[in-house]
């Protein structure tokens, strides 16, 4: 288990050493978004805006206009949650390289309840033209995603979890924005499980369970929600003939919807969706309790796979 936020914070310091244009802003959450180290290493390139997310985005847009690459951090519920129009107009419509980093996404802020659990941020960000939307799955991928969005010259959203999460990728794993990665292949897969974020660990566990009962699946890490890798998704649909999507987010407008848009315009196959189904979160001791309650566990994924196979064969 390792922290995605930690990976982000470490890479930010690396980037800071290499690129003097990187600046970091936060809204009274430097510690929980892991930018304290950057602030200490580069005090002149760090800005504390206070509890003021709207200023966080718009001040950063001003700095980007002046040639900087701002990384702006808060909990995802507050930014991009509170700052949609600011992002749309001052960052995206102006096509400025503001990097919105939303931490504690999904159920990570478990004890804090619905107000602090971000289950809508992917949907919000993916509907904005020009935006790049990345949801890495673990520590190493968070590092690579941070590096990649620093370099891409675009307004970008980076989605991070609060909790330490299982290690899925390593230093040598490939990462390219917009290119989905096959995590698990098999000779004759009956279903493609397409997911993003730390919940992919559940998808891999489900794949193991399914293999034990003779069901082969393919697992795809779809870390970039926008631009979506329609070639990889269409290929998976062709090869497997059925798809299950998995996300720690509302299915509506999230990865599930995104994949369905690709599938219905390309190679049409039956789909099942594992994710939050149009309900709010709530307080719990930890995110695992909430994954269970809201249906995001390996058991739920296994069930979805069985269901989609029945539909495919009927």
């Amino acid at each position: 288990m390792k922290s995605m936020r930690g990976g982000f914070g470490e890479m930010l310091v690396e980037l800071g050493k290499k690129n003097p244009d990187i600046v970091v802003l936060t809204a009274d959450l430097a510690d929980s978004t892991r930018v304290k180290e950057f602030a200490e290493a580069f005090p002149n390139r760090f800005f504390q805006v206070g509890v003021a997310e709207q200023a966080l985005v718009t001040v950063a847009a001003g700095m980007a206009g002046a040639g900087k690459i701002p990384f702006i951090t808060s909990y995802a519920v507050f930014s991009p949650g509170r700052t949609f129009e600011q992002i749309k107009v001052t960052a995206a419509l102006s096509d400025l390289p503001v990097k919105i980093v939303g931490s504690h996404a999904g159920f990570g802020a478990s004890m804090y309840g619905a107000t602090h659990q971000s289950l809508e941020d992917i949907a919000l960000m993916r509907v904005i033209p020009n935006m790049v939307v990345v949801s890495p799955c673990d520590y190493e991928e968070a590092k690579k995603a941070t590096f990649a969005v620093a370099e891409n010259g675009k307004p970008s959203y980076l989605r991070l979890a609060r909790q330490d999460s299982p290690i899925i990728t390593d230093e040598n794993s490939k990462f390219e924005i917009g290119k989905a990665v096959i995590l698990r292949e098999s000779k004759d897969p009956q279903v493609a499980i397409i997911g993003c974020g730390p919940v992919l660990a559940e998808a891999l566990a489900a794949a193991d369970q399914l293999k034990d009962i003779g069901i082969e699946v393919m697992v795809i890490n779809n870390h970039t929600i926008k631009p979506i890798d329609d070639i990889a998704i269409t290929n998976a649909a062709r090869i497997c003939g059925a798809i299950v999507t998995v996300e720690e987010h509302q299915v509506m407008g999230g990865l599930g919807s995104t994949v369905a848009e690709v599938v219905t315009q390309g190679h049409i196959v039956p789909m099942e969706f594992v994710g939050v189904k149009d309900v709010f979160g709530e307080s719990a001791k930890n995110y695992q309790e909430l994954w269970k309650k809201f249906g995001l566990t390996k058991e739920n994924i296994t069930e979805a796979v069985k269901k989609v196979i029945t539909r495919k064969n009927s």
């Binding site: 504390q48 003021a52 602090h116």
Partner: protein
């Protein structure tokens, strides 16, 4: 209303112990701001709020204080306190209107409470609407939009109480985002302004009473408080913004509250 200050002081002591117990048991919560707001909330629930009045809590992270006061007042079952932040509990980590009767506004995300209180006050002219806010929230634009609204519509039935403990998450208000003079800002925005010691019951009752008598303008009571009040090692130390005590710290804190 006949008010016995000694009684309010013993209630405040129990509320402080409840807060510590809740946060300790949950392993989560915001003790610093909860402890600074105790006397204000006790005064509101045990001597200020009349039947038609309403209380809006804007800085919802200090809900352990609110839940404890509601329990002491008999508005919720005391046994519920132990379920704070647990799956299925009506005592969410941040208060939710649809989950617990008596919660006027869902809060936690900062800067949104005053506007809701102002909207309510603009409609319910015959009652007093009290809204607690924090100093950290004064960083938020939405808060100041409500300040303008309340002045424009002369909401003299709106009484804001600022828990001015001088601390936010990562340090003092002065370090994170200096606010200048809140008093001057509110005066310039056409509000009545009172400044009090937020742990002194006489001053809380006196200022709220005067605020109710003022006509034509909303009122704000800038209540100077001590972050973490009552626990020596928490007082004025930002580390205790959102940290649960460990076993030793909990015992030490409870000892100090005896």
């Amino acid at each position: 209303m006949e008010i016995d200050i000694n009684n309010l002081e013993s209630i405040s002591g129990r509320v402080r112990r409840n807060i510590l117990e809740m946060v300790y048991k949950a392993g989560s919560g915001h003790p610093g701001g909860s402890l600074s707001a105790v006397e204000i909330m006790v005064a509101l629930y045990f001597g200020i709020l009349e039947d038609r009045d309403r209380f809006f809590l804007s800085n919802g992270h200090i809900c352990p204080a609110l839940y404890s006061v509601m329990a002491e007042k008999g508005l919720i079952d005391k046994n519920l306190l132990a379920s704070y932040t647990e799956l299925g509990s009506s005592l969410q980590g941040h208060p939710e209107k649809t989950k617990l009767k008596g919660i006027e506004n869902t809060s936690g995300p900062l800067g949104l409470g005053l506007a809701q209180a102002a909207g309510f006050a603009a409609i319910k002219k015959g009652s007093y609407i009290y809204c607690m806010t924090s100093d950290g929230e004064h960083d938020e634009g939405n808060h100041w939009e409500a300040v303008n609204f309340a002045a424009k519509y002369k909401l003299s039935n709106l009484i804001q109480i600022v828990d001015k403990n001088g601390i936010q998450i990562e340090g003092t208000v002065e370090e994170i985002m200096p606010l200048g003079s809140l008093k001057e800002k509110y005066l310039a925005s056409d509000w009545n302004v009172f400044e009090i010691d937020g742990h002194n019951f006489d001053e809380i009752f006196d200022s709220t009473s005067k605020a109710r008598d003022k006509k034509g303008k909303p009122s704000v009571i800038l209540a100077n408080t001590v972050f973490g009040k009552g626990i020596s090692f928490m007082e004025s130390n930002p580390d205790w913004h959102a940290k649960a005590p460990n076993g030793d710290e909990f015992r030490k804190a409870m000892e100090e509250l005896k």
